[in-house]
C-alpha cells in the first residue's frame, strides 16, 4: 500500500480540504507542523470523512493554529482547554467527528488535566499532539517534553526536568488507542492517523515534530532538514522492529507505531445507553 502511494502519478489534492486563501500559513520555514497536517489530510481522505461533520478544535500555540487552515468546523480556543471545549461539542452533538490539534505545551503543560480526563472518559475524538519539545509560539521555552539537558530560553543552563512520555500518560489515563508517529515518517503517520480515525473512543497520536527556529537553533541543529534526519536516525524505532533489534539499537529511543489499542465503551454512547435509558424509562 505504501509503495502504491509512492508511485501515485496524480499528487494528492490537499487543497480540497484547505482554506486556500489562508495560505501561506504562519509556520516558520521548515516547521514540521505542516507535514503533520498533510498526513492527517490524506488520512481523512482515506476515510472519506465529510467536511461538514469534521470538527477540529485546538488551544493556543503554533500547532494550535492548524484549525485556521482546514475547511471544517473549526474552533481555536484558549491555551490548554481544547479538550474541554471539544468534550462539550461532542457530547452535545455526537455526529461531529472530533479532531484536536494541540502541542506539547498546550496538551501536556497547561492542558495536562483535561488531557488525562478526556482519555479517562474515552470520549470519541482523535487527539494529535504536535510534539516538538518546545513552546514554539512564545519563543522557545522548555516544555514538559523537552529532554533533560536541552537548551531553551528558560533553561539556558540545560533543562533539568524529566520529560513526560505522552503515550504512557495517555494509556495510564485510559485512552483506548495510543500511537506515536513522526513528521519524518509521513506515510506511516498517514496510516496511523487512518487507523486512529477509525477507532471509537479517545485516540491519542503523539507526533515527534520539529521546531527548527527555536529548538533547532538553540540545540545546534543546523536546519530543518537536519532536524528531520535526526528524527529518523536518532529518535525513534518502529514498534514492529523493536523486539527484533538488539538492545543498544533501541535504548533511549521512542517507539513508533500503534502502541495500545483496546475496545471499551465510548462515553457518549454510554451516556445514551445507561443514563438516558434509565432516566426516561
Amino acid at each position: 500500500m505504501a509503495v502504491a502511494k509512492q508511485k501515485l502519478s496524480v499528487p494528492f489534492d490537499y487543497d480540497k480540504y484547505l482554506r486556500k486563501d489562508k495560505l501561506p500559513h504562519i509556520w516558520c520555514p521548515g516547521c514540521g507542523h505542516g507535514i503533520v497536517l498533510k498526513s492527517l489530510l490524506r488520512a481523512i481522505d482515506n476515510k472519506e470523512l465529510s467536511k461538514n461533520d469534521l470538527c477540529m478544535v485546538s488551544g493556543i500555540g503554533c500547532s494550535s493554529r492548524t484549525p485556521g487552515y482546514v475547511d471544517f468546523n473549526t474552533l481555536h480556543t484558549i491555551h490548554g482547554r481544547a479538550f474541554s471545549f471539544a468534550t462539550g461539542l461532542k457530547l452535545a452533538k455526537p455526529s461531529l467527528k472530533m479532531i484536536i490539534a494541540t502541542g506539547d505545551g498546550d496538551a501536556m503543560a497547561i492542558g495536562g488535566n483535561h488531557f488525562i480526563h478526556t482519555c479517562r472518559r474515552n470520549i470519541d475524538m482523535l487527539i494529535i499532539v504536535y510534539s516538538n519539545a518546545i513552546y514554539g509560539m512564545t519563543g522557545g521555552q522548555f516544555s514538559p517534553t523537552t529532554p533533560i539537558g536541552s537548551i531553551a530560553t528558560t533553561s539556558r543552563y540545560g533543562n533539568v526536568e524529566p520529560p513526560f512520555d505522552i503515550c504512557e500518560m495517555a494509556k495510564a489515563a485510559g485512552a483506548t488507542f495510543v500511537a506515536r508517529g513522526t513528521a519524518y515518517h509521513t506515510q506511516e503517520l498517514e496510516r496511523t492517523f487512518t487507523e486512529a480515525l477509525g477507532h471509537k473512543g479517545t485516540a491519542v497520536v503523539e507526533v515527534i515534530d520539529s521546531c527548527p527556529i527555536y529548538f533547532g537553533r538553540m540545540n545546534k541543529q543546523r536546519g530543518a532538514s537536519e532536524m528531520m534526519e535526526n528524527i529518523e536516525k536518532n529518535g525513534t524505532v518502529s514498534v514492529k522492529q523493536v523486539d527484533k533489534l538488539p538492545a543498544e539499537k533501541t535504548e533511549g529511543k521512542l517507539v513508533r507505531g500503534i502502541l495500545h489499542r483496546v475496545e471499551k465503551p465510548e462515553y457518549c454512547e454510554q451516556y445514551d445507553k445507561l443514563i438516558v435509558a434509565k432516566a426516561t424509562k
Partner: protein
C-alpha cells in the same frame, strides 16, 4: 511493449507558498530541486522519479509532482 519516448513529470511549485526551507531539496533522492532566492526551483527535471517525497515532506503545500 516498447516504452514510448520518456514523458517528463510536471513539477508545480507555488512561489507564494514556498518558504525556501530546503527540505524538499535535501530529501529529493535524485537531486532534482534547488533553492534560488526565496523559493525552490527545479534544477534537473529529467532526474525526477516521481517518488513524491518532496511533496510528502514539504511543510507548506508548495510543491506538487504530476505524471
Amino acid at each position: 511493449m516498447a516504452e514510448p519516448a520518456k514523458k517528463l513529470p510536471r513539477i508545480e511549485i507555488s512561489e507564494r507558498r514556498c518558504k525556501a526551507c530546503s527540505i524538499c531539496v535535501d530529501f529529493c533522492p535524485t537531486n532534482v530541486l534547488e533553492i534560488r532566492g526565496t523559493t525552490c526551483v527545479v534544477k534537473d527535471l529529467e532526474a525526477c522519479t516521481r517518488c513524491q517525497l518532496c511533496d510528502l515532506r514539504c511543510p507548506d503545500f508548495a510543491i506538487r509532482v504530476f505524471d
